[in-house]
Symmetry: C2
Subunit: 709 residues, 2 copies
């Protein structure tokens, strides 16, 4: 945790003792809503309403401006027209208040004038050291301390989930959903336009916050990639799951995002790679976020090896659930003999049930108190870590209530998690209220879902999170400190003009500096130099004409392999020279023949948020055809590089030996990836393509290179 900096900055936002509400009134959604919440939820600190046109607000003394407040507040919440915001913030800084939340909208997200005002606000923040959340945000809350500075009319439930959102509307909507599911919240923060405090900083803070156990985020764009990565890394180290939705995954989504958010929309691929590498859980939709957060919150680390036993009332539902488990990467181990033996002693299961995993117990086994006996063998089985009960029932009031009571009794009797999917329970038959059984289960803290996929996908995320943890945490953490340090000193090299390739010979020299193996070569500037170069190298040779404008060399007939004589080499060089007429030609690359192997591509590119990233995928002519690549932040350890190789779906099958491909030297490829990752961190390249890198049983060797500065 030593690398974390500056986080004391955020303390006043969550633990203020004295809060000024500038623009206080008894009307208006935000001013009235926030003050009402502070009063009603029992905030223990001082509240200073500020408004020159009022004497009192909700019975509190109102001050004409913040300079009149008797003791300087440690937090100012600003809800005034946008033209008044900057002068107010000046005053806030003047009185020595360290932190301000600007609720007011109409800044960078709105128009030219708004962008100008936000720039000034940023300067003010830098110059005065005033920490600012917002503008254009929905407020903050610290639920256990009764500090609810949002307009939400919802009773907060205290717990250990912290929700950070770049969308104020979604923060409020999700808070409502969480409240309904009885998910306890620790802190809420709406980031708005991030003029100063960013989602990365808020994430850092949440990771260090001892009362936060699960972090949920809605992310639109990340401004400081390395800091975000550092925060994710720290979360992983602290075993605090980060579950997030990020918009802007597709071109269409990014276009939509670019029009409204002031933050640069980061490339989908880079963001995905970072989440994957540092164990953040990216989900696709808001209820997926809710379900995954619920599962982490309710089951936490209590899933051991994730051995799931499925108990179902309906065979069809069981088989559907097995499908969904398979797709989510959860396997259902066979029913243990011990459980089977016990089930055979239950007459209503022995006669009609189908034992297995899923075990189809039939309806009668899960009606009312029978449910307890049905579940006990599974809950007590040492070979089962999690039990999933599947019910599909219409709402039959009395029957459902006794079943729910039995389920709650079982859930409370054992420490082993019991998850319930009850299709149709949520839906009231005719009464307007929702069924009592549903409410009972939720209030008792039973993880309850309305379709199997919601339970299975979120459970799979929890299982994979803890399963992956041990081998991941260490090397991620050690490797990346260096990277972060090195990156922090650089600037926006990603935004440079990328169209500046460097000559082959220079690129080759850079590879040599990092001990990246390049097939032995001789350089021949003109056709007449080629035969001599080939003789020096020894036959057979490969011959390539190198031109910055002819990128698909092999398609153009400018690559020839296995040339065996001086004469063959001379004729080929002359032919290529003629073929390339009209193009700028660097020269000829005469290369020793590499034993055939798997052609891979190893690349480096600059992500606008996260800086250099290393890519591995299929190489050669299929590179653009098969979309099968894995991306990682450099630098890589050997172990990480090996893991990366395993993740490239098709390629890794080839590398492990497929039909007439013998197994390749994976360690050699991993070494090469590690060295490329060092190059990526240390050199200010814009992009690098090593394509192909031929990997055979002996070696991994670069055959061609294109590097852009």
């Amino acid at each position: 945790m030593k690398k974390m900096i500056n986080n004391s900055r955020l303390i006043p936002f969550f633990h203020p003792r004295r809060v000024a509400i500038v623009g206080a009134s008894e009307q208006g959604m935000y001013p009235a809503g926030i003050i009402r919440n502070l009063l009603e939820h029992g905030f223990k600190g001082e509240i200073y309403p500020v408004n020159p046109r009022r004497k009192q607000v909700f019975g509190l003394t109102c001050y004409s401006d913040i300079t009149q407040v008797p003791i300087p507040p440690d937090l100012a919440i600003v809800i005034v027209p946008r033209t008044a915001v900057l002068p107010i913030l000046q005053q806030v800084a003047q009185v020595g208040t360290p932190a301000a939340i600007v609720i007011t909208a109409g800044f960078a997200e709105a128009d030219e004038e708004g962008r100008r005002l936000q720039k000034e606000m940023a300067r003010l923040s830098r110059e005065t050291n005033l920490a600012i959340v917002g503008p254009n945000c929905a407020g903050v809350a610290n639920v256990p301390e009764h500090f609810i500075a949002t307009r939400l009319p919802i009773s907060p439930r205290t717990g250990s989930v912290t929700l950070l959102s770049q969308s104020g509307a979604l923060m409020m909507a999700l808070y409502g959903v969480f409240a309904d599911y009885h998910v306890g919240i620790n802190k809420l923060l709406s980031l708005g336009n991030q003029v100063d405090v960013t989602i990365s900083e808020a994430l850092e803070y949440s990771v260090m916050d001892p009362r936060t156990r699960v972090i949920a985020m809605f992310v639109e764009g990340v401004r400081n990639g390395p800091r975000f990565v550092q925060a994710l890394r720290a979360a992983r180290e602290a075993k605090k799951p980060v579950v997030l939705v990020k918009s802007g995954r597709t071109e269409q989504g990014r276009r939509a995002a670019a029009t409204h958010t002031a933050a640069l929309a980061s490339s989908g691929q880079g963001f995905d790679a970072v989440c994957q590498q540092f164990g953040a859980i990216r989900v696709d939709d808001v209820m997926e976020l809710v379900h995954s957060v619920r599962m982490f919150n309710q089951i936490g680390q209590n899933i051991a090896r994730g051995r799931l036993a499925v108990v179902t009332q309906s065979g069809g539902l069981g088989s559907l659930t097995a499908d969904l488990a398979d797709l989510a990467g959860l396997s259902l181990p066979p029913l243990s003999s011990q459980v089977e033996k016990r089930l055979r002693q239950l007459p209503y299961i022995a006669s009609v049930g189908v034992l297995g995993n899923p075990t189809d117990v039939r309806g009668a086994a899960v009606i009312g108190s029978a449910t307890r006996k049905t579940l006990a063998p599974f809950m007590e089985d040492p070979e089962t870590d999690v039990v999933l009960l599947l019910l599909a029932k219409p709402a039959v009031r009395e029957e459902d209530v006794t079943t729910a009571q039995a389920i709650i009794h079982v859930a409370k009797t054992y420490t082993k998690p019991l998850i319930v999917v009850w299709v149709g329970l949520r839906y009231p038959p005719s009464a307007p209220d929702r069924p009592l059984a549903h409410r009972m289960l939720v209030e008792a803290g039973v993880p309850l879902f309305e379709q199997p996929g919601d339970a299975i996908r979120s459970l799979a995320r929890v299982v994979h999170y803890y399963r992956r943890y041990p081998e991941e945490s260490q090397h991620n953490i050690t490797a990346h400190t260096t990277f972060m340090d090195s990156f922090r000193h650089r600037g926006a090299r990603a935004r440079r003009d990328p169209s500046h390739p460097i000559p082959f010979v220079k690129a080759a020299r850079i590879l040599e500096r990092y001990n990246i193996p390049l097939a032995a070569y001789q350089w021949a500037p003109r056709p007449e130099d080629v035969p001599h170069a080939a003789e020096v190298l020894g036959f057979p040779v490969a011959l390539k004409l190198i031109s910055p404008t002819l990128t698909h060399k092999s398609d153009a007939g400018l690559v020839r392999l296995g040339l065996k004589t001086v004469e063959e080499v001379r004729k080929t060089a002359t032919y290529m020279w003629a073929q390339a007429r009209g193009h700028s030609v660097e020269g000829f690359l005469v290369q020793r023949m590499v034993e055939p192997g798997v052609e891979t591509l190893v690349g480096v590119f600059q992500d606008p948020q996260f800086g250099p990233m290393v890519m591995l995928g299929p190489g050669g002519t299929l590179v653009e055809l098969i979309n099968d690549t894995v991306i990682r932040l450099p630098p890589l350890t050997h172990q990480q590089a090996r893991a990366m190789i395993e993740e490239v779906r098709i390629l890794s099958r080839l590398l492990h030996g497929y039909r007439n491909y013998p197994p390749s030297n994976l360690d050699a490829l991993a070494d090469l990836l590690v060295r490329v990752s060092h190059l990526a961190v240390a050199e200010e390249i814009v992009s690098l393509d090593l394509n192909p890198v031929i990997v055979n049983a002996q070696e991994a060797v670069v055959v061609d290179v294109r590097m852009f500065f």
Copy 2:
């Protein structure tokens, strides 16, 4: 519709005038539940309880057995212990009752004795012509006719959705969900073990039923594939969408299914291909089924070209929705200039909104009556077919109700569909009842969803369904009549021993019979025959050793291309002969060299349910590596074969010309597929691999063949 047969058989199940309930009582979930429902919902026909131990049930005269009932019923519902079921059914058949529903469980799904009893029941049904639904089922309903013969305590809402389910529990649970969403139901049928009436027959009936517009199904396994296909085809022709969940998609799911369902679990791939080909919509989970059915039911064919305009309160939610739309294949057209002009006249949007698609109107624009003015430009835009409104709000009672009223007003003013996603609305802040606004919107028939993905995916299914319709319907219908007829006369050839390959020369002759082009060849039984065969053919030639036990010929060095002289051919043949020592060898295939091209695999296999299927995918050595195949039921028209080629992701890019591959002759490949499809229908083969079929600019030609009888 002429091909439909026998469907009058199902009439008594849905339109009975006299129903006997055998095993009637005032206790027991089923007996009491069904009689109570018939009475309470106002069934107009006669109800005859049958039970020797009672005189009256719920005030109705009870008969000691069915022979005592004054007029023979046209439907008997049987709820007695399993040992009593067969004698009862005998009586039912005796009195001339044409139809029976067996609710009782404990048959093929349970144990050996149950399987035996079910077999007897099947024989009884065949011999007496008694139509039987079940056993092990949950009943039937015809809602508009007040005939509710299930134990559901739910008020039915009349409409045009028919729900068919192999799982009784899910049928009841889904019915509850539909009722809650105010989706009107026409008919319900729980199929159970399908001893006689199958889901295919029920589907046929629903397609012909004029009161059914949308068909929802939960399928575990299909018994008579061709009949199922025929029913899907008829549904497509009638433009009645079929939305289904089927379990058993993965190995794990099939294993689970195999343990509990009496029907053979059909192969996931074949089932998917059939759905795809005949326009059935297969979804992955139960709420996905509900949402898609709701969308078809509420929006129906009213979506024109599917041009979607997204109006959002939150930029982040808009961008997330654009992502999800992209993934679902829905593109968002640019905002029309007319709408833009009108929005600029609305001050609260002009000042802070971001116009585009999505248009981010900001919160104020969608609070209360402002919502009407905000939506009007979109609803009136001739370039927009569907409007999606995105809200993310916590439940704020008064405000939400006025907003909901405004939305309902807009929805009722225009014929254009308005879809609403309101994140957080469903969740009551503290009161136990669900928010009034939610109930108002659902009751007004506004399609309401709680996360964007649910709306987007189901809308995409509707749009694609109607977009694909015109070009699909015709050739599907004409081509398949023949296929069905030819198939019906065959038996279970799929279940034969598949390990019987036929010799190359015989396979080649079968290909010739269907004019499937095979590269010119000469056959040489022994090495000494090879040189002469090569001379007859003319050099250069390809040489292959053919052995039924050496399947990966090229890996084993038993394929050599471009042999140029008699000497080369002789030496190679001798070498191969030695290599194959210990294997059974058919002989040598000497073949003319085919111009290089894209290597494809064209195959035929037998699906256990659907019979022969034609497959197209990448060929050569990559066949097992890249999972990129498309499957179709034969026979194929040329147009269908062309469509099939376009669907193979990677392969179709190669075929259209990629880098040094010139565009291939797609018509030649399509012709070949058509001919193979004829072969597949007419010949009783178990499987066929044409691999590779080389497709170049001139031709599509088979280079190697393996055929199993």
